[in-house]
Amino acid sequence: MSGTEAPALPAYDEPFRAERSPFLWLLEREVLRFLTIWRYSVVGPVLSTVLFVVVFGSALGRHVDTIDGVGYGSFIVPGLFAQAIVNVGFFNGTTSLFEARRDQYINDVFASPLRWWEINAALVGGGIARGVVVGAGVLAVALPLTHGGAPARPLVLLLGTLGVLLVAAQVGVIAGGHAKSLDHVYSIESIILLPLGFLGGVFYSVHQLPPFWDVLSHLDPVFWLVQVERIGFLGQGDVGAGWALAVVWALAATLTAWSAVMFGTGRLKP
């Protein structure tokens, strides 16, 4: 070490003043994290979603009748868009928070002047940002492939997508806060998220199902996320727009409260 320094010590009796908000620094770090691994975090999810559109929508879709007057390719795009956001939101939150806990660099954040709700909001903000980037990527490729036009109900689409982004990011952060190992993270994805996604009406209308499964589908949270996007893009779904928005935002509010309790009560600390 080249020499000792003589630091100008901060006064002990002055209130904390930030030149730049610590929250913005942490949010920036969260965005930088997923951009650093862009092949895995952005290109991978966009590519796999687009492959679903190509295989199911363009290739198999030719052999499938229209659903409620909509071509099969156009029908599945909103659901795939919602599913892509849910997947990246989940993985962003889980990996970011779980790795920060496992490697203990979350301690550097907890020891800093960042307030609990700023840490919570920055982690969720990172998941939302990744959802926006991946969702935009999916639409940029999938809409031209399926000859999709302007959204039928832009306001429903906007409010619904904001809700879906929030739900996805909060689920990820909550799972990241509770996971005890990386296996735990992947098992949540494969045992809970994936089945809910497939049973959420991405590839079909639940009205095509027997009555029991139709009703049961309504208990699947992913069903509502898919519906709100489908109504926004196509103007119609298996439920009304008001119900879809209400359920999605009730989910978002519940998960936000859960996440806030997790951070606010210090449950992430021993």
Partner: protein, 260 residues
Amino acid sequence: MADPFAAPAASRRGGSPPALRVEGLRKSYGDGFVAVAGLDLEIPDGAFFGLLGPNGAGKTTLIGSVCNIVRPTAGTLSVFGHDHRSRQARRLLGLAAQEINVDRFLSIRQILIYHAGYHGIGRRAAARRADELLALFRLDDKADVRAYELSGGMQRRLVLARALMHRPRLLILDEPTAGVDVELRSEIWRVVKGLNAAGTTVLLTTHYLEEAETLCDEIALLRAGRIVDRGSAASLRERYAARDISEVYDRVITAEEVVS
């Protein structure tokens, strides 16, 4: 109940509150293990304070509680008179943890810059300070690599550099020389002594008793979550009729552990 070994509130700096005040700190975990059992401690502003004790004595739990990393079960902690959870307190605290707990997604220069950011420092000032510390700790040629690509000694220097990024008034060093070679150890102590001479209060935990004896102007001995004695190295030697702090440690900690 006040700790009979707690130091008087007097400060080296006349009038400033103690750098750290801990009253009745207790931490028990879900499995019933009591890591800290009603600990009182006061460290004056400007002190170089050593905390000695065996593994499991509660040193890291005490430090974690002070730094807002561990939730105390009971007790109050203040840093320069501010509640330890307040932003003012956290702004004044710097921690070089025992573990190499750095962000593996960032380069080492970014690790320093973002740490400063979490303390509210602007981008330009953070970058300038990072470059200063990278040069001071001879990490400047590694600025763009990831921490896991560094040697153990370099990682240790990085953790110390990060703790200094926001110029803390109270620097907590938890086993800062564990696993580092003799040359780096003396380099680290030279920097830390310089900081203390310039006014930074230092709280040090170490298993190198001779280092604590040489560096610290006061030492506390911790066993089973309680401070069992404290004082200057000279006063402890005198009290136990010991030749050095190792002998004091043997009598106060090791012998008691054998008895219990």
